[in-house]
């Protein structure tokens, strides 16, 4: 790896909002390079650490967001990341443009919930639209994260290939503007 060692390990937080964790899986597909990465970074809030809130152990250098914003909790988590991360990265199609969840955007939310929980064939009798106060309320539309907070870098792909994630992170950590090039940037 070409990147010079930083003075201290960078703190990296990751999360999946309205995503499928496919981008996190692709991130894990950097395979043994994860060990090289761990020489340079330590993880804050992330599915890899189970730390519940970003920023409780000090500010983060890089926040990586998978998925768009589909409910109230997504908004809070995204804002928490923005507050506590110097650099915020949209990882994957859903964070970049809403992706698959946003394909519901031209449908009425009430109709969707009624179809899924009340009128769809094969439902158990008495199934109702969930209304537990613990559940975050869905938004009328799914939004890419740049419509909610300022985003510093975008890495498209469904998911972005592991090599693109590796190239992006190593460029960023080395202080270069990430350059992807043909084969690493794709929208599908």
């Amino acid at each position: 790896m070409n990147a010079p060692l930083p003075r201290r390990k960078l703190r990296v937080a990751t999360t999946s909002l309205a995503g499928c964790f496919g981008c996190h899986m692709s991130f894990l597909d950097i395979d043994e390079r994860l060990l090289d990465l761990l020489e340079l970074v330590e993880f804050d809030r992330s599915p890899l650490t189970d730390i519940k809130h970003c920023g409780t152990r000090g500010p983060c250098d890089i926040g990586i967001i998978e998925g768009g914003v589909c409910n109230a909790e997504n908004v809070h988590v995204l804002q928490e990341f923005r507050r506590n991360c110097k650099i915020l990265v949209a990882l994957g199609a859903c964070a970049v443009n809403g992706g698959l969840p946003a394909q519901r955007n031209h449908l009425d939310l009430r109709d969707i919930l009624a179809t899924v929980y009340q009128t769809e064939a094969g439902l158990a009798q008495g199934t109702q639209i969930p209304n537990d106060p613990e559940l975050p309320l869905p938004l009328n539309q799914v939004h890419p994260i740049h419509e909610v907070v300022k985003v510093d870098y975008f890495l498209p792909g469904c998911p972005p290939p592991a090599d693109a994630i590796w190239k992006f992170l190593t460029d960023l950590i080395a202080g270069r503007t990430p350059q992807l090039g043909h084969g690493l940037i794709h929208y599908d």
């Binding site: 698959l100 946003a102 419509e147 985003v151 469904c158 043909h182 940037i185 929208y187 599908d188």
Partner: protein, 243 residues
Amino acid sequence: MSEPTFTLDGREIPFAAGQSVMQAALAAGVFVPHLCYHPEFRPHGSCKLCTMKINGRHATSCTTPAAAGLEVESDTPEIQDKRRTLLQMLLVEGNHFCPSCEKSGECKLQALGYELGVLTPHFNLLYPDRPVDASHPDVLLDFNRCILCELCVRASAEVDKKSVFALAGRGIRKHLIVNAESGKLGDTDFALTDKAAQVCPVGVILPKKCGFCVPIGQRRFDAAPISQHVDEFKPVAIPGERA
């Protein structure tokens, strides 16, 4: 007498009488981003992606006649930035959800996004809701991806002599329509063999029964970026035009 030339990004580009700046550039092997241009059709000048700075003024290179001594800038940060913005506006106006599009890997809008490094749509997405038309036995229309290049309109009118397609409405409400009383493609004499079925640069006009038939990795723009396909865009004689 030597061929007349103009200067494109510091390079001398020869041209033949009647050629546009873009045709001369493509003939010389210089890739010019474009969506509404097709070598077999008269220039349209609507997508604006081929815009260059010609003698200090922005102009669509597909509609600007080549002339001796022109000073033309194309591959500059300023012009490429403007092209990226144009692509971003096209991406937010339609519903370009590449993972579910059969044209992915063959799509010129997508390939230009890759070529110019468009990583984000930047603007707020409009998520249009335009019903698809699956009434034709061989062809599916997904209007949510239309970029209004009018290539299908031109191909159907000029080559197929059927005038199956047209644009209706104005401004942001402009949209592609089908020339049938029902508005359905199945009620026209459109055929899969029509020229209009072959020219869509994006994923609006799709043949049925062969979705995703080319594996990822073997699609048109998988192996080489669109700029290396420049030979496919070189000028040819336009049917019905004087040579």
